[in-house]
């Protein structure tokens, strides 16, 4: 069993340039800077998260991703990351385009709304799922787009985006053979490594 961080860590080459969008307190970036010696930067707007990054010595820039990423040149990073945030932005499709413009490759993780528990919740209760993993009500959730593992795959196909590899993990961010066999039903978090 590997966690999502371990999975991503395995996929990342050492000494590359990494941009982590909505890096939060910088857990993944810190890991990659220490273990893979990447030249990494995080973007974040939460004051506490920014301070945490600065405290840990993680380069972090206060920038609102919804206002655009025009300040980053085409293909100026080897890897652009976004973990558990894509569902919070206004236009995920355009954001993915931007990520692939800036980075040669991208790794994106997101909550899979196709998980059987979400389906069951909606089917049986007739109400939007609230779980430990997505603990918000429909009216106060920062997650403004809900999509599934398959939805993301389909978007990649429509946009001619190459899926280099994927992984799928459960609520404890661990992978299992049965999740791998039916990721759309069993994964709570999907992890995609993509490029143009």
């Amino acid at each position: 069993m590997r966690s999502d961080l371990e999975i991503i860590d395995e996929w990342v080459q050492p000494n590359i340039r990494v941009l982590d969008l909505a890096c939060g307190p910088g857990e993944l970036l810190h890991h990659l800077i220490k273990n893979k010696q990447v030249n990494g930067y995080g973007l974040e707007i939460g004051p506490d998260d920014l301070n945490t990054c600065i405290e840990k010595g993680i380069p972090v820039l206060e920038q609102n991703i919804d206002e655009g990423l025009q300040n980053f040149d085409d293909q100026s990073f080897d890897l652009v990351l976004m973990t558990h945030a894509l569902q919070q932005f206004r236009r995920p499709d355009l954001l993915i385009d931007e990520m692939l413009r800036i980075g040669k490759e991208c790794i994106i993780t997101f909550p899979n709304f196709g998980h059987w528990r979400s389906r069951l919740h909606l089917a049986l209760k007739g109400r939007m799922p609230v779980s430990d993993f997505l603990p918000y009500n429909w009216y106060d959730t920062p997650n403004i787009h809900f999509f599934t593992f398959q939805d993301f795959e389909r978007l990649c196909k429509e946009k001619n985006i190459k899926v280099l590899r994927w992984a799928a993990v459960d609520g404890q961010l661990k992978d299992h053979w049965w999740i791998r066999s039916m990721p759309n039903l069993f994964s709570e978090t999907a992890i995609f490594h993509i490029s143009r």
Partner: protein
């Protein structure tokens, strides 16, 4: 006047003067044969001289950054809110140096000093000095104080430009750079504001082509006007509105050119107070230093290329309502540093005070500054061990 010195103050401080006899070649082509730099220090230099922090001042700043000169002082130094025991720039940890730059009017050699070659005041003949010249002279002061490498160099506005220049000119002599509310070069609009300020001084009949002291005169009207204009640009529209609104001096309009609105009174007061403490030639010279600064001109306008020389870690800070040195200007530096692969963090602080915000102890600003510098301090101790 402080009745008692509070525990987080550096207390009573005494300025010191360093005299330099090694000629200093200036960007303008002239050479200063000898000069003085006046400075203050707060805190204690550690045994390996690794905990020094240099403070670079802005347009109207000086060496008196923190503490009091006497118990009778009405105000502490200009950045007392950030420098002191337990404050963002913690003097329990750091040895802080603040100086008055060359060309200043607070003790360092400048237009009001005596030119040793003539025995007369320099006045208009004082050469225009640049940010590069200042940094060169600051490095000599560091040599004199036995400091090879600064733990941090910190500055806001024009002070931030000096920090940027340090990182390019002496990459190995600083571990970290803190650049607040600054820019990699002035915008056209900024140069235009400076020109209006200079013209208002130069056109004052009491200016005497810059030799006003020899004529027992001071261009108070021109300098006051320059300061009034500057002051407007340092505040945000909102901050001015909140402070004065349309508050009036009288109950009804007077229909004359006396003071109707409180903001007029405030500006006149600010202008006049400034002329009592500042020299007009120094003000003009400082605005020219701002105008000329453009390190990217060394690399055909490519800021990232010139910053590739830097080796320190950077912290940049901007303020949302600052329109004289807007967040976008700080972001130009940030983007160039990212492009060059440098270690940089950037915070855009929500603040109502406009450009002046860099002098205010805004909690989040102080917290970011302290967090960054605490890490700088922690790394000093781990490196020693």
């Amino acid at each position: 006047m402080p009745d008692v010195i509070s525990a987080d103050s550096v207390g009573i401080v005494t300025p010191q003067t360093a005299h330099f006899d090694t000629p200093l070649p200036l960007a303008c082509g002239q050479t200063l044969a000898s000069y003085d730099l006046v400075y203050e220090t707060y805190g204690t230099l550690n045994s390996d001289a690794s905990n020094a922090v240099l403070i670079c001042h802005a347009l109207s700043g000086d060496h008196h950054a923190a503490g009091y000169h006497a118990m009778s002082d009405s105000k502490p130094g200009w950045w007392d809110s950030a420098i002191g025991p337990g404050k963002a720039i913690d003097t329990n940890t750091f040895f802080v140096i603040a100086l008055n730059n060359l060309g200043g009017c607070c003790g360092s050699t400048g237009p009001t000093s005596i030119n040793p070659e003539t025995g007369q005041r320099w006045e208009a003949s004082f050469p225009i000095v640049t940010v590069e010249d200042w940094v060169e002279s600051q490095a000599r002061l560091a040599d004199l104080l036995g400091i090879q490498t600064f733990a941090a160099i910190v500055g806001g506005s024009l002070g931030g430009m000096q920090v940027l220049e340090w990182s390019i000119r002496f990459p190995t002599r600083l571990k970290s750079a803190v650049i607040v509310a600054s820019a990699p070069k002035l915008s056209t609009q900024n140069i235009a504001f400076n020109e209006v300020a200079r013209q208002s001084i130069r056109r004052d009949p009491d200016f005497f082509e810059g030799n006003y002291l020899d004529n027992d005169s001071v261009p108070t009207n021109g300098l006051g006007l320059a300061r009034m204009l500057g002051h407007i640009t340092y505040l945000s529209d909102d901050a001015m509105g909140a402070k004065f609104g349309r508050q009036m001096r009288h109950d009804s309009y007077q229909y004359n050119y006396g003071i109707e609105f409180e903001v007029e009174s405030y500006l006149r007061y600010q202008g006049e107070a400034f002329t009592k403490r500042f020299d007009a030639n120094t003000y003009m010279l400082m605005t020219k230093a701002l105008d000329y600064f453009d390190p990217a001109s060394q690399t055909n306008g490519d800021l990232s290329a010139v910053l590739s020389r830097a080796q320190c870690e950077f912290l940049l800070v901007s303020f949302t309502t600052d329109w004289r040195f807007s967040p976008e200007r700080s972001e130009e530096i940030v983007n160039a540093l990212v492009k060059a692969g440098k270690q940089v963090s950037y915070a855009k602080i929500e603040a109502a005070e406009g450009h002046d915000a860099f002098l205010f102890p805004i909690p989040r600003y102080m917290s970011v500054l302290n967090t960054f510098l605490t890490r700088v301090a922690n790394r000093l101790t781990t490196e020693v061990k």
